[in-house]
Structures are given as structure tokens and as C-alpha cells.
């Protein structure tokens, strides 16, 4: 990525140059420490993959590696559950909630950042308070509400609920981000006859992209991994999200650890792929200055 950033035409952002960073041995030490930490961060997931590949008979062996890797576990896990269907639901819910959050939060954040209006503080407070309520505490009320509306087992319900619980962070981060973009640029556009909404879309939005991307990733990941609402608001295996589907490997008398972890690994992969696309932009946005 360093090369990718270097290849970029010019990076005129503030150049952050921590002092004395050309000192070689120091770089080496930093690299070693960083690589060690990276390994530490990945280790638990590596162990999950190893467990996923264990033959059933060696599941409870306290060894580092099994005698052989059972790659068929990854195929079995698809046959033994509705993973494909669950994955589709999760994709739909995470994608839908992310879009909804952006559609709803962006205008609100924009207006709040740009305008002084009565109730602005109350609005921001309301948003902050939402962040403090966890769905876990509200499950019965949520179930009751969506039952009365006849919306149980619906993808839309999961999209709406997940979006609502992620709004707070998105509004926060977008308000802050847009607030840091000089308003003069849009005003110039508005003098030229563009509406405020048009100015927001054409001028501010592109500049606020890193903020938008951050809010997007945050919402997507949180929704992707959401469990409690998925468990409560859906009961039909075909409309359950992945996290709930995985939970079904925990049964009355046994836990299918190898399948559980195989499915978990499958669940992580799409998020990592999303990161491969988007996180690069975040990182480059974040580091544009230092990697000249």
C-alpha cells in the first residue's frame, strides 16, 4: 500500500513527519513489534480455522494441530445448515441497513453541521441517547412492536432496526466531518444557483467521503455481526441472519464446534473482502500525509 500511495499524483495534505524516523534499526524494531502484534491479533482466528478443520474425533484433543485436516468440514457445514440462505439474509440486511443509515443520516448530519437551528442541541442529545440503549435490553418491546405490525421474519424489519441502532454513530461522525469542511465552497456553488441540497451532494459529499466510508463500514460491520435482534425477530431458519444460523450448531446435548467455527470463518470472509475494497480508502485517506 505504501507503493500505491506513493504512486498517487500528489499528496498535498499536511505532511506529518515524526522526528528521526529514518533511523534504520528503529524501523526494524518497530516492524518486528508490529508484525508480532499482528500475529497476536490473528492467532485466535487461526485457532478457529484449525478447529474448523479438525476431524470430529480429535475435537477435544488439546493439541496445536490435528493429525490431519478435514477440509470436507467446510463442505459439510453448507449441507448441514441453511448457511447459504442465512448468508443471503445477512448480506441483504447489512447492505440495506447501511444504505438506509446513509440516506437518513447524511442530510441530518449535513444540516446539523451547517445550520444553527432551534432544537439542535436536543436533536444531538436524542441521537446520543440512542447510542446508550442496546437492543439486548429492548428485545421484548421490539418483538411486541413488530409482531403487532405483522413484520416478524421480515428482512425489512431487520434492516430498519439495525439502521436505527446504528444511526447515532453515523450522525455523530458525519456531523463532525462535515463541520470540518469549509462552508465557503458550497456557498460559492449556491451563489451560482445550485440549491442547498445540490450543493451538499455535489460539493460536500465528495469531500466528506472518508467520513461517509467510516460510517458505512461501522454500520455494515455492526449489522453483519448483530445477533440479539436477529434471534428475536426472526424464527424461520430461512429468514435468519448468519449469526443466528451459526448459533444453531449449539444444541441440546452437543456443540458441533468444528461446524460452528467453520461457519464463523465463512462469516468473517465477506467482511474482510469489503475491507479489501473500502478500508484501503480509509487508510489512504487517513495516511495521505505521512506516506509521501
Amino acid at each position: 500500500m505504501a507503493t500505491a500511495a506513493a504512486a498517487r499524483p500528489k499528496t498535498t495534505g499536511p505532511s506529518v513527519k515524526p522526528p528521526k524516523r529514518t533511523f534504520r534499526p528503529r524501523t526494524l524494531v518497530i516492524a518486528v513489534v508490529a508484525w508480532g502484534l499482528a500475529a497476536l491479533f490473528l492467532a485466535p482466528y487461526l485457532e478457529m480455522i484449525i478447529t474448523a478443520l479438525r476431524p470430529k474425533s480429535e475435537l477435544r484433543d488439546r493439541t496445536y494441530l490435528p493429525s490431519s485436516f478435514e477440509w470436507s468440514n467446510f463442505i459439510e457445514v453448507w449441507k448441514q445448515s441453511e448457511l447459504g440462505q442465512n448468508l443471503q439474509v445477512t448480506l441483504l440486511v447489512a447492505g440495506g441497513a447501511t444504505l438506509l443509515v446513509l440516506l437518513v443520516a447524511l442530510p441530518a448530519a449535513y444540516y446539523t453541521a451547517r445550520m444553527k437551528f432551534r432544537g439542535r442541541k436536543i436533536f444531538l442529545l436524542l441521537v446520543l441517547v440512542t447510542q446508550m440503549f442496546q437492543p439486548t435490553a429492548l428485545l421484548i418491546g421490539l418483538y411486541r412492536e413488530f409482531y403487532q405490525l405483522g413484520m416478524l421474519n421480515s428482512v425489512w424489519t431487520l434492516i430498519i432496526t439495525n439502521a436505527a441502532f446504528n444511526l447515532a454513530f453515523a450522525v455523530w461522525i458525519l456531523t463532525a466531518y462535515i463541520g470540518s469542511i469549509p462552508a465557503e465552497l458550497e456557498e460559492a456553488a449556491m451563489v451560482d444557483g445550485t440549491s442547498r441540497f445540490g450543493a451538499m451532494i455535489k460539493v460536500t459529499l465528495p469531500l466528506a467521503l472518508p467520513g461517509v466510508v467510516t460510517a458505512l463500514i461501522f454500520t455494515f460491520i455492526t449489522t453483519w455481526n448483530e445477533f440479539a435482534m436477529g434471534l428475536t425477530l426472526t424464527t424461520d431458519p430461512a429468514s435468519q441472519p448468519l449469526t443466528v444460523g451459526i448459533n444453531n450448531f449449539i444444541g441440546a446435548y452437543t456443540v458441533q464446534w468444528n461446524y460452528l467455527f467453520a461457519a464463523s470463518v465463512v462469516a468473517i470472509v465477506p467482511v474482510i473482502i469489503l475491507f479489501a475494497f473500502i478500508e484501503r480508502h480509509v487508510v489512504s485517506g487517513l495516511t495521505a500525509g505521512s506516506v509521501k
Binding site: M1, A2, T11, P14, V16, K17, K20, R21, L37, A38, L42, P44, E47, R62, V104, Y110, A113, M115, F117, R120, F123, V127, L128, Q131, M132, F133, Q134, T136, A137, L138, I140, G141, L142, R144, E145, I160, A163, L167, V171, I173, A176, Y177, G179, A183, S195, F197, L207, G211, A228, T243, S264, A267, I268, V271, I272, F275, V282, V283, L286, A288
Partner: protein
């Protein structure tokens, strides 16, 4: 985006919004409706999905609901009384505070170091940053179940590792008793909180102009001095965001403890959130009362922090 690295969100606190909110000057078309068309969708969504169940919750805390789930009528304040008479409540609340403070404090400290480290230039920085993301990309529930699996006395590989390293003589039941379960659960909570926090701080670090360091170096300041007098103060907004988000999330954290110990043995490893969930098994009304208390606590906690940190001092 590559042409200009806009200041990070960290630079301006969410609470105080834009740097220069300007009064509404020109009124035309949509503008006449004021903020409504812009913020109404957010408010509607919050009212519909969050406030409605909250109202239900508060109502439930005054109801007498049987174990089967049937509403048997009003309970007045009985459920609150019953809650405060629970012998375990005191210990649960104390542990909730310890849990929150320890996890948030260590998360912030470690994230500061990580952000500093990953802000340096070294070979393989991108890949190592990717690794940092893993606990965030994976579901917290799965990570917690993974650790529970690794710490299992009879099947957990961490026991083998620690035996080989000579830390312990034989496999231990780490999650079986509170004295060892708490540190492990705190470690997992910190582990999953690090990516987001580190990224927030990294973003903060990026906003510090290089010239400032330049000047400091010319003044002959050492690395540590530079860090203390320049980096840390300028990192304050990002730091505050990290603390507030973590305070709320860690206080409300449920899956880690639930997956690893279910708050047991007994209530020995329960925070108030887990306690609330366990109460639901026997008394929905009392559990709702606990949720209400819980919410009051998190509000107080966040307010205290905002006050102490003088969040709004620049407003």
C-alpha cells in the same frame, strides 16, 4: 480525496457539531420548513425503533408478568423493590463499574501505543493494519466463543500453550471461577475494542500538522516531551470520542460475558447487563426494572465523564 486529506472526524467533537454553524440566512423553498426535512427521517426512525420499545420497557417494569410471560396486572413499584432487595445486586454493580473502568482505561492506553506504532513507516504496515482489523470484522460473539473454546480445561489449546511456556503446571479451568474469569473476559473485551479505538486515534494523529513536530524538534524537545506536550493535547478530541463510545459499549457489553461464563457461577461474573438478562428467566418485570436502572447508570456515567473532561469547554 487523495488531493486533500480532510481533517478527521476526531477533530471536531460530535456533540458540538460544525466548527462554524451559521444562522439560517436565506429562506427559500425547502429552507422555509427549517430543519424538518433534513432531520425528520432520523427522528422518525429513532421514535419508531428505539423510543417505542423503551416506552414498553418502562411500562413493563411496573407490571407483574408471570414466568410464562402472561401479564397479571400492575405491580406498582414492587419490581424495583424486589430488584433492590436482591442480595447479589451490590456486587454486580461494583463489578460493572470495575469492568467498565478497567476495560476502557486499558483499551485507551493500549490503543494510544498501537496508534503511535502503526503511524510509523515500516515494511508491511498495510498488512499489519489489516490484522488489527480482525477482531472488529469478526463478530464479538464469535470471538468470545472462540476464546471460551481455547480456554476450555479439557480441550483448550491455550492451556497447552501456557503449559509449554511453563506458566502453569496443568490445565486450568480459567472461566470456571470469577478470580480468573474476570481477567480473561476483560482481556477479550479489550481485544475487541482495540481496532475501533486505534483507528479513531490514528485518524486523530493524522490531523496533527507536521510543522508542529518540525518546530518542536528545532526547539530541541525529546521524543517523550514532544509526545506529552504536542501529540497528546492535540489528540484530545479523538481520545474523547474513543472514551465515550467505549464507555457506552463496554458498559452495555453483553455477548462477551454471556458467551464465556453466562455470568456464573451464580452471579459472580455478571455485570448489570448480564444480571438483567438472567433476571428475565424468572421475572420479566424485575428484569425491565434492571434495564431502566441500567440506562440511568450509563447516562450518569457518560455525563460524569463529559463533565470531568469538560467536553464542551470549547463550545
Amino acid at each position: 480525496m487523495s488531493l486533500k486529506a480532510p481533517p478527521s472526524p476526531a477533530e471536531t467533537g460530535g456533540g458540538r457539531g460544525g466548527r462554524a454553524p451559521r444562522p439560517v440566512s436565506r429562506r427559500s423553498g425547502l429552507a422555509r420548513l427549517g430543519p424538518l426535512p433534513w432531520i425528520a427521517p432520523v427522528i422518525l426512525l429513532i421514535l419508531f425503533v428505539v423510543v417505542w420499545p423503551v416506552v414498553e420497557l418502562v411500562r413493563t417494569s411496573f407490571l407483574n408478568i408471570s414466568i410464562s410471560g402472561k401479564n397479571r396486572g400492575s405491580a406498582g413499584t414492587d419490581k424495583y423493590k424486589k430488584l433492590f432487595e436482591e442480595t447479589d445486586l451490590g456486587a454486580v454493580l461494583i463489578w460493572t463499574v470495575i469492568w467498565t473502568v478497567v476495560v476502557v482505561a486499558l483499551t485507551m492506553l493500549i490503543s494510544l501505543a498501537l496508534a503511535q506504532l502503526f503511524n510509523q513507516k515500516f515494511p508491511g504496515r498495510t498488512i499489519t493494519r489489516w490484522a488489527l482489523i480482525a477482531p472488529w470484522a469478526a463478530s464479538v460473539l464469535m470471538t468470545a466463543i472462540g476464546f471460551k473454546w481455547m480456554l476450555n480445561q479439557t480441550a483448550g489449546v491455550l492451556n497447552t500453550l501456557m503449559m509449554d511456556l511453563g506458566f502453569i503446571d496443568g490445565p486450568q479451568d480459567w472461566l470456571g471461577k470469577s478470580s480468573t474469569a474476570w481477567p480473561w473476559m476483560m482481556a477479550v473485551a479489550i481485544f475487541v475494542s482495540l481496532p475501533f479505538t486505534t483507528y479513531t486515534l490514528l485518524a486523530g494523529l493524522q490531523t496533527i500538522p507536521g510543522e508542529v513536530y518540525e518546530a518542536s524538534r528545532i526547539d530541541g524537545a525529546g521524543t517523550w516531551q514532544t509526545y506529552r506536550h504536542i501529540t497528546l493535547p492535540m489528540l484530545r478530541p479523538a481520545f474523547l470520542i474513543g472514551v465515550v463510545i467505549n464507555l457506552i459499549n463496554v458498559f452495555n457489553s453483553f455477548p462477551i460475558i454471556w458467551a464465556m461464563t453466562q455470568g456464573g457461577p451464580g452471579y459472580d461474573t455478571s455485570t448489570s447487563m448480564v444480571f438483567m438478562y438472567k433476571l428475565k428467566e424468572t421475572d420479566i418485570g424485575e428484569s425491565a426494572a434492571m434495564s431502566v436502572v441500567n440506562f440511568a447508570l450509563v447516562v450518569v456515567l457518560v455525563l460524569i465523564f463529559l463533565k470531568v473532561s469538560r467536553w464542551n469547554e470549547e463550545d
